[in-house]
Symmetry: C2
Subunit: 378 residues, 2 copies
Amino acid sequence: MSAERRRLPAPVLPQRVHIIGSGLIGTSLAMALVRAGVVVSVADASPTNEALASDLSGARLGAGDPVDLVVVATPPDVTAQVITAALAEWPNAVVTDVASVKEIVQAELVATGVQGLERYVGGHPMAGRERSGAIAARIDLFEGRPWVVTAGEASSDEAVALVRGIAEATGAVVRLLTPAEHDAAVAAVSHVPQVAASLVAARLADLSEDAVGLSGTGIRDVTRIAASDPVLWTQILTGNARAVAEVLRGLADDLGQVVAALDDLATGTSADGRIEAPGARAVLATAIAKGNTGHARIPGKHGAAPAAYSIVTVLIPDQPGQLGRLFQDVGDAGINLEELNLEHNLGQPFGQLELSVLPAVAGELAQWLTGRGWRIHA
Amino acid sequence: MSAERRRLPAPVLPQRVHIIGSGLIGTSLAMALVRAGVVVSVADASPTNEALASDLSGARLGAGDPVDLVVVATPPDVTAQVITAALAEWPNAVVTDVASVKEIVQAELVATGVQGLERYVGGHPMAGRERSGAIAARIDLFEGRPWVVTAGEASSDEAVALVRGIAEATGAVVRLLTPAEHDAAVAAVSHVPQVAASLVAARLADLSEDAVGLSGTGIRDVTRIAASDPVLWTQILTGNARAVAEVLRGLADDLGQVVAALDDLATGTSADGRIEAPGARAVLATAIAKGNTGHARIPGKHGAAPAAYSIVTVLIPDQPGQLGRLFQDVGDAGINLEELNLEHNLGQPFGQLELSVLPAVAGELAQWLTGRGWRIHA
C-alpha cells in the first residue's frame, strides 16, 4: 500500500480565497490568510457573523469576484450541499471543507453525481476551543496542529496543492490521508478515547463519597475529557458512526475476554485463597501488554518519536509564588523540561509537581533543586 | 446506611510496632514511625532486606519483645497466612496489613476459622512508586495519600484506633470502609480505569504512522497509565477479580448500547447524508452526560469539592528558562495556580501551558501576562 500511496504535492498559496461560514474555524482561517497576504472574502448565513468575521480578520465581505479556492466552513450537516453549490458557482475554483468527518461527505458528493470532483479536496484542521463563533477566533488557532487533507480518487494534484498551501500558511502540519483512513484514525485517536473516558467516569456516578475520595491521578487522567459537551459529541459520534463502531467493537471483544478471565479467577478462588483458573492470568497480562504496545506508538513532544523521560517529583507548598521560585531555579540549572504535571494531594497543603526531563540530566536536576532547598521525591 | 455506618474512633499511636516485610511499604512505614517516636522492629524473609530496612529507618531488627501492633507488609499472596501466624504469636497485639485488596484476605481469615479476629483490622495505604524494595523507601511516601482502614465485623474499636494512629503518624488521610466497599471502590477508581486505558491504547497498535500522528492531548491523557507493568497489573486484577468484573460488566453493557446506537446511525444513513435512527442519538448523549455526572464527582484539589476553574493558556517558547520566567511573572501577580498542564504542539518549537485559576482572577492573570510580553490564548 505504501508504494501506491499518494504523495503530497508541493504547497501552492492561492491568491484569492473565499470562505463560506464565519464561525470559529472560518474566521480564524480568514485571519491567518489575510496575514499571509491572501485576498480573502467571507460569507455567512448570518449578516452579523459575516460582518464580525470581516471586522476581526480584515477580510472582504461577500463574494462575486473570481477566486482560486473556496473553503466551506459551515456546520457539518450542510457541508456536502454547500460544496455542491460552490463547485457550480465557481467553475474554475478548487473547493475544500473543514468538516471533522470525511467519508460521509465524499460519499454524498459521489452518490449525488456532482460534477467537478477533480476540483474538490476534503480537509480537517484538528484545532478547536471550548468556545465557538467568530468572536472566539484566533489567528494562531491552527499553529502546530494537524490539518488532514483528504484527497478523493478524483481530486487533482493541483487542487491538493492549494489546500496544502492555505493549511501551511496557518502554521498547521499537513497530513494526506484518504477519507476512510482519516475517519478510522480519528475514531481511534479521538472518538473512542472520548467514549471510553465517559464510560469509565459514569462508573463513579453511584459510588459513595468515601469511595470517590480514593480517586488518584490515574482516574483523573483517564476521565479528564469526560467533562465534554454531550450535544457536541453526539454530533461528532453520529458523523463518524461506522468507523467508531468498528473500533469500539474491537475494544468490546477485548473487554469481553478480560471480564471472562476475571470471572474465571473469581470463581476459581477457593476459601483458602488459592486460585485455579488456567489461562486467565495470560488474558489479563496480554491485555495490559497490548496497551503498552499501543501507548508506545503515540508520538512524543513536537511530533518526534516517543522518548522515555525521567521524572523528578518536587513538593510544592500551596502558596502564590512557589512555582515561580521553582521554575526560576530550574531555569538557572539550564535544564529543559519535556513535560510537567501538577498532582494534588488529598487534604494536604502542598502539591507534587512532576518534572519530566531527559534521563541524563535527572540526577543533576534533583541535586540542584535539593541544594536550593526543595523537597524532592527522586 | 449512613445511620448504621461505623464511625472512625480517635487515633491512638501505639508505642511498639513490629513490621513484617521490609519492602517499599514496610520500610517507608518504619521510617515514618521511628520519626514519630514509636519503637519499631522489622523482620523480613530475606536477612539482607531486613538489615537494609533497619539501616534506613533506624528500626530494630527482629522481634520477640511484646508489641502493641503488628503490620503485615508481605507480598499479597501470603498476607492471610502471615496475619494468622501473627495473631497467634502476639496474643495481645493488634494486627493489620497493607494488601491492596481486602475482601479476599478477610474471607480467607474467616473461612479458616482464625481466632482473635477482634484484633485484626485491614488496611490499604494507597501510595506507591515505580520502584520497589527497601532501597526505594521514602519517609514521606504516605504523606497526603489515602490510607483505607477496613474493619471487619469482628474488629474492635481499640484495634481500629491503633491502625488509624500509625496511618495518621505517616501523614496519610484515613478513610474507614468495609472490605467489600474498599474493593468495589478501588475497582472503580483504579482498576477499571487501568483496563480501559490499556484497551484504548491497544487500538493504536495497528494504526498507520500518519494515523497515530493525529494523537492529541485527549488520547494522551486517557492512555497515560497504559504504560503500566503487565505482571504487576495481572496480580492486582487477579486479587480483585470479582469487584473489577462487576464494574467492567456495567461498562460493557453501556458500551454495547453505544455500539448498537452507532450501528443504527451508520446503517440509517442514506446516500444523501440524512440519518434516520430513532433514539440512537439519545443513547450517545446519555452516555456522554452520564460521564459528565461521574467526572464531576471526582474531588478537586486537596480533597476539596470539585471546583470549576478558568484556564489561561500561554504559549511557551521551547527554551530553558522560559517556564521560570513565566512562573516568576505569575508569582509577581500574586495569583495561586490550581492546576497546570503543558501541552505539546506537533512539530512546533513551543508548548502551550494551561494555567487553571479561580474564575474571578483569570482575566487579571491574562492581562498581567500579556503586559509582560507573553502570548496568551485567553
